[in-house]
């Protein structure tokens, strides 16, 4: 019963959000604000459980893992942001977080996003069939010309300008592909909502 009633409520709220398509209206605004409140409430419970209980109070106070204490203290410093006079204290937490992330990011990102990608761009004449080799060369030309396009330390004139114009052509093809996939993604989300209204809702109403 609660499940069926829930689907009915969900369908009404779905229609309230869809009503924006006609024009802005109080039903849409009410649904939007309710969504913000409910989702913030949902998230904060998980944040609290995951960060405070599971990663801090349970290990520290039940399992004696006292070395987690500095993490908790650093985390509490972030709340000093709420008062302008003490906001500078939160910088310690932010500096800690951002610097730690920066530290382990450097070698991994260089390896996986840069070096491995460069290696994947170099054609292997010994292994590839003629068509594959031609396509590898095409990718090499594309990547190199795009990197030239993003090189801003010299004016894009002469040979540099011509190469960067080739880069723009590859970028446009890539943006086109992104656009095609974006349309696909958005339509899929709409299909999901219509499946909810045309499949789940009648089933639930039938059971009520």
């Amino acid at each position: 019963m609660a499940e069926e009633l829930g689907i009915l409520v969900g369908a009404l709220l779905t229609l309230a959000i869809f009503s924006l398509l006609y024009r802005d209206n109080p039903f849409y605004r009410a649904a939007e604000h309710l969504l913000v409140g409910v989702s913030a409430g949902y998230y904060v419970v998980h944040y609290f459980y995951a960060a405070v209980i599971r990663k801090f109070t349970v290990p520290v106070f039940q399992q004696g893992e006292w070395w987690l204490l500095p993490g908790g203290l650093l985390g509490l410093l972030i709340f000093f942001r709420l008062r302008p006079r003490t906001a500078w204290l939160s910088r310690y937490a932010i500096a800690f977080y951002v610097a730690a992330w920066s530290g382990y990011l450097i070698p991994s990102v260089l390896q996986e996003r840069v070096l491995t990608q460069i290696a994947g761009t170099i054609p292997d004449p010994a292994a590839a069939a003629p068509w594959a080799l031609a396509m590898s060369l095409l990718v090499l030309v594309g990547v190199a010309s795009i990197l030239v396009y993003f090189y801003f330390s010299a004016a894009h004139t002469g040979a540099l300008g011509r190469i960067s114009r080739v880069g723009i052509l590859f970028l446009m093809a890539g943006f086109g592909a992104s656009f095609g996939y974006t349309v696909m993604g958005r339509v899929s989300l709409l299909i999901g909502r219509f499946q909810y209204l045309f499949e789940d809702l009648p089933r639930a109403l039938g059971r009520l």
């Binding site: 409140g37 985390g75 932010i94 500096a95 530290g103 382990y104 070698p107």
Partner: protein, 204 residues
């Protein structure tokens, strides 16, 4: 204390996290694990601060009876209800998961589904083959759009769309990826060395 302290802390922590990648030293490995654990706690509490800020914003709107304050009642009410439900009934059963499944999930997914309408409208109104570059973007978009669905597969467009995705698209994404990767690395080095401080806020 207000400026140098955080930058110094950032330098020490950043260098330690960088160095651990290149050394098997046990002491450093243990500190690295400690820092990863602390980082998760700090991140979780930062997210909680975000929710507290959201609450305070709407609370002030209600207290001052600002325009639209009645809508803020719904936000604050929804937030309070979810926290109360999780405390009274536990997060695993009762109204808390029900509200997620039947209030949050339908609305959140519908809000994103609206974009299908707007993307169609934008395609009609703004997607113009004004020049060679726009025509190239438009052609690639149309071919990929049709080639990735059964209708396009029936007329053989999937082969062309696969070619676009596998080669020109791959080159475009990789070029951007390498550029961004180098940019991320440079920014990370500047953060550790204290050259980049804007993330600490005004006056840092």
């Amino acid at each position: 204390m207000k400026r140098t302290g955080p930058v110094l802390l950032g330098f020490v922590i950043g260098m330690l996290m960088l160095v651990q990648h290149f050394t098997p030293d046990r002491w450093i490995a243990e500190r690295y694990n400690n820092i990863l654990d602390w980082k998760q706690v700090v991140f979780g509490l930062t997210l909680i601060l975000g929710v507290v800020s959201l609450f305070l914003y709407h609370w002030r709107r209600i207290a001052r009876r600002e325009e639209g304050w009645r809508y803020s009642l719904l936000t604050v009410g929804g937030l309070a209800f979810m926290i109360g439900a999780a405390i009274l009934f536990t997060p695993s059963r009762g109204p808390y998961p029900w509200m997620f499944e039947h209030v949050q999930a339908p609305m959140q997914s519908t809000l994103f589904a609206l974009l299908a309408f707007y993307v169609a409208s934008a395609s009609y109104r703004a997607f113009r083959a004004r020049n060679l570059h726009a025509a190239l973007l438009l052609s690639a978009g149309v071919i990929v759009m049709l080639g990735r669905v059964p209708l396009g597969e029936a007329i053989g467009l999937n082969h062309i769309s696969t070619w676009i995705l596998d080669y020109p698209n791959l080159a475009a994404k990789r070029g951007v990826m390498i550029g961004v990767g180098l940019g991320m690395t440079a920014t990370a080095i500047k953060i550790i060395l204290g050259i980049e401080r804007t993330y600490l806020g005004r006056g840092a």
